[in-house]
């Protein structure tokens, strides 16, 4: 019982991290129709910033992490996304593959293949005991941070003028521009928010996922791929469904790795067959609901006469 509760809490925390990444990817997809495969490398850059400033005060270290990730986000926007504004989505996707591998190669050349340890706030990795339940603080913090980010973003999108413009640009960017919405300004804000979220993930991930304490050039790459799958499974057209998709796949990964025994025969070993089990679920979902797990059936209200 206790063990199940612990597994479910851990799975919720992992789902929260994936949901955060899904928000970051979904926000930019909304306004640019661009699937940013290089999103994980933003997290990687942030994690390196933390690893290289281990001796500095933690506040400074985290501030530097945010600065690096935001600068890199803007660099991506100005050097790659903006020149490709009129390119097809396929061209832009391939360009983000290139950016991803470029950044990994730079990291490999500069920092080598051997991982660097990231310890951000060691106190947060200590367990908190509630009855017979041992929960690490970071598990709770991760879930709370994800909830806060989602709430803040919802408020931003619904209550501010730039948020409204962002929603309009996500629905129909040409009509939005014809009304005077400044496309480039809206996109830059979306890229910056997406960068802030990547920086938050860079701070949380090394503490929340034990094997992610080592930063390597391909850091967060696996997470990015799984999140992208989750976003497609959830329905990429809407931020909420994309976020739920990210959460669901993260939760599924966490729960399967907790509930499947770690040794034994196929298909019961989580260490070997975890990804197979997750992607089998993905195939089943896409066969049953190709438009996305949480997508609403299409309505044609606009066509009314």
């Amino acid at each position: 019982m206790t063990e199940n509760a612990q597994t479910l809490l851990d799975a919720t925390a992992l789902g929260s991290i994936y949901a955060l990444m899904a928000i970051g990817i979904g926000l930019v997809f909304g306004v640019l129709r661009l699937v940013n495969f290089a999103y994980g490398q933003l997290v990687m850059a942030g994690a390196y910033a933390l690893a290289l400033t281990q001796d500095a005060p933690v506040v400074l270290s985290i501030a530097l992490c945010f600065a690096v990730v935001l600068a890199l986000s803007l660099a991506m926007e100005f050097a790659a996304f903006r020149p490709l504004r009129r390119a097809s989505p396929m061209t832009m996707l391939v360009a983000t593959f290139a950016i991803s591998y470029l950044l990994q190669s730079i990291a490999l050349v500069h920092f080598g293949a051997i991982g660097k340890i990231v310890v951000v706030i060691p106190q947060l990795t200590q367990p908190l005991t509630i009855g017979s339940l041992h929960v690490r603080w970071i598990t709770i913090v991760t879930i709370l941070v994800a909830i806060c980010v989602f709430a803040a973003l919802t408020l931003f999108l619904n209550r501010t003028s730039i948020g409204l413009q962002m929603r309009a640009a996500s629905i129909d960017s040409q009509t939005a521009r014809l009304l005077g919405v400044r496309a480039n300004a809206v996109i830059t804000v979306a890229v910056l928010i997406s960068g802030v979220i990547a920086a938050i993930v860079a701070v949380i991930l090394p503490m929340a996922v034990p094997e992610r304490i080592l930063v390597t050039p391909d850091y967060a790459l696996r997470e990015t791929i799984i999140v992208l799958v989750g976003v497609v499974v959830g329905g990429i057209d809407r931020l909420l469904t994309a976020t739920l998709g990210g959460f669901t796949i993260g939760f599924a990964v966490g729960a399967l790795s907790g509930f499947l025994p770690s040794s034994g025969d196929w298909p019961f070993t989580s260490s070997v067959y975890l990804d197979s089990a997750v992607f089998m679920l993905v195939i089943v979902v896409l066969l049953l609901r190709p438009e996305g797990l949480f997508a609403r059936p299409h309505r044609s209200a606009v066509e009314r006469v």
Binding site: I171, G180, V181, V305
Partner: protein
């Protein structure tokens, strides 16, 4: 207010419009009619900056606008009610109108502009919290017009506002246009409904094969032979 001189737009190597000249003076309602594929929408799209003109000049209140992005052209005083209304169905009526405010040159007067549109189309006030997609077709058209009006454009372009609407609703749309005309707004109206447009507008250009074939006045609306000649060539 709006001057178009020698406008040419090409799709690839195919010219969609060739040497189009248009004039819309302050306070005037000018019609633009013509058969499908004549280049009516292309002309509007060139004016608002969605397609690039390969030749010619477009001036709004004396300012040259060609080559500018759409979001800047809106701020130079061009409002568009696009074909098919293009309202944001999943946003509320109020949010749709607030988006229209983005095209204003200054924030001052936004409240008054919204009030003005609410007075013109009271349904937009009553339904302000509803999703725009739940409005009827005619109400959606009122929203699309109101959304363009809150920016207080110098010239309002309407791209086939009666398209796909039931006949009684078309009457309502023309009533709305009449009400706007009384406020002294300058309008360029692109329409398929030739007779109605010719009767309604101060002047109407007939576009065919990408060229302005002739200009008609309201009196021509009842001259069926001239209307047919204008459309199909004599």
């Amino acid at each position: 207010m709006l001057e178009v001189r020698g406008l040419e737009v090409r799709y690839g190597t195919v010219p969609a419009i060739r040497g189009v000249d248009l004039d819309v003076r302050r306070g005037e309602i000018v019609g633009l009619i013509g058969p499908n594929g004549a280049g009516k929408s292309t002309t509007l799209h060139a004016i608002v900056g969605v397609v690039r003109a390969s030749k010619g000049e477009i001036r709004v209140a004396g300012t040259q606008v060609q080559g500018q992005p759409p979001e800047r052209i809106v701020r130079l005083g061009v409002g568009l009610v696009p074909e098919g209304r293009r309202i944001f169905a999943e946003l509320t009526v109020e949010e749709n109108l607030r988006l229209g405010l983005c095209g204003r040159r200054s924030k001052a007067g936004s409240r008054e502009a919204l009030e003005g549109v609410h007075e013109l189309f009271p349904i937009l006030r009553e339904a302000r919290r509803r999703h725009a997609g739940t409005l009827s077709g005619g109400q959606q058209q009122q929203l699309a017009i109101g959304r363009a009006l809150v920016a207080e454009p110098d010239v309002l372009l309407l791209d086939e506002p009666s398209l796909g609407l039931a006949p009684t609703v078309v009457d309502a749309v023309f009533d709305a246009l009449r009400a706007i005309r009384e406020r002294g707004l300058t309008i360029l109206l692109v329409e398929q409904r030739a007779q109605r447009t010719v009767a309604f507008a101060d002047r109407t250009y007939v576009l065919s094969n990408g060229e302005v074939r002739m200009t008609l006045g309201p009196a021509d609306a009842s001259d069926t032979d001239r209307m047919i000649a204008a459309y199909f060539g004599s």
